[in-house]
Amino acid sequence: MDSASKPLKTLTLASLLLLAVATGLVLFYAPREAVMGEVQRVFYFHVAAGWVGMLSFLVAAVAGGMYLARPRARLDEVAVSSVEIGVIFTLINIVSGSIWARPAWNTWWTWDPRLVTASVMELIYFAYLMLRSGIDDPERRARLGAVYTIVGFLSVPLTFFSIRFFRTLHPVVIGSSNPAAVGGFDMTPRMLQVFLFSLLTFSLLYISLLWHRVRLERLTRKVEEAKGQRMAGGAA
């Protein structure tokens, strides 16, 4: 991350600037929700983090599919980098949701379909990272990883549609919510503006982080190769 290229530095700076603006909008521009009060403001970044998580897993699945069609190390680098970012942002989504749930549902956690499917999705991708770290052969690791990202992606639509298919406490903010949902609200034009701005900001942040993480993955490979050469030289 130290010697980043100029476009990457510009992108990183732009995404940080947008994040600062988005935070300002969330705290000072978005109106206070009448029923839930201040805690509703968490929603803007909670949903944006969930969006980045799902987008990351989609990118990983696409990279995985492309790797199986035409194996190239670069695609594997994108897949593993994207999954790692997805795991972090899904964790942010789950933790911020739990904090919102305490005043809204009067509990930090409940075994609601959305919470369960999101947690299972998180564990599936966490297991992907663990599995990769246990395989030494880079080609085998990449091939297995590619298959895993495609199969693992089944958990993403399941999580996304869980609040639309099942009877759940979790509100659906865009579209009609289940009558049993608790904490739903109708977005005012200002709320919608802040919401869309937050989605854009987090998407840009994702691209920037992915770029940094792919560079790190490449560096890891270089170190692995240098170590391999050293060992081969020592053996000869």
Binding site: M1, D2, T23, M36, G37, E38, V39, Q40, R41, V42, F45, H46, A49, I88, L91, I92, V95, S96, I99, W100, R102, P103, L209, H212, R213, R215, L216, L219, T220, K222, V223, A226, K227, Q229, R230, G233
Partner: protein, 54 residues
């Protein structure tokens, strides 16, 4: 003293939520930086050792 989770005012949860969001992001970015730095140092050392051998 009443803790924020015992009051009807939800501002404390907003602070907690924002702290969690920014905290987790910061930890990840710092971890990326430290991984990058240590890998660079390792690569430098491997290359130096290789050059010394030659």
């Amino acid at each position: 003293m009443t803790a924020f989770w015992q009051t009807a005012d939800t501002a404390g949860y907003l602070v907690l939520g924002m702290a969690a969001i920014f905290g987790l992001m910061a930890v990840y970015v710092l971890r990326l930086r430290s991984r990058s730095r240590s890998l660079r140092e390792e690569l430098e050392e491997l290359r130096r050792n290789e050059a010394q051998k030659k």
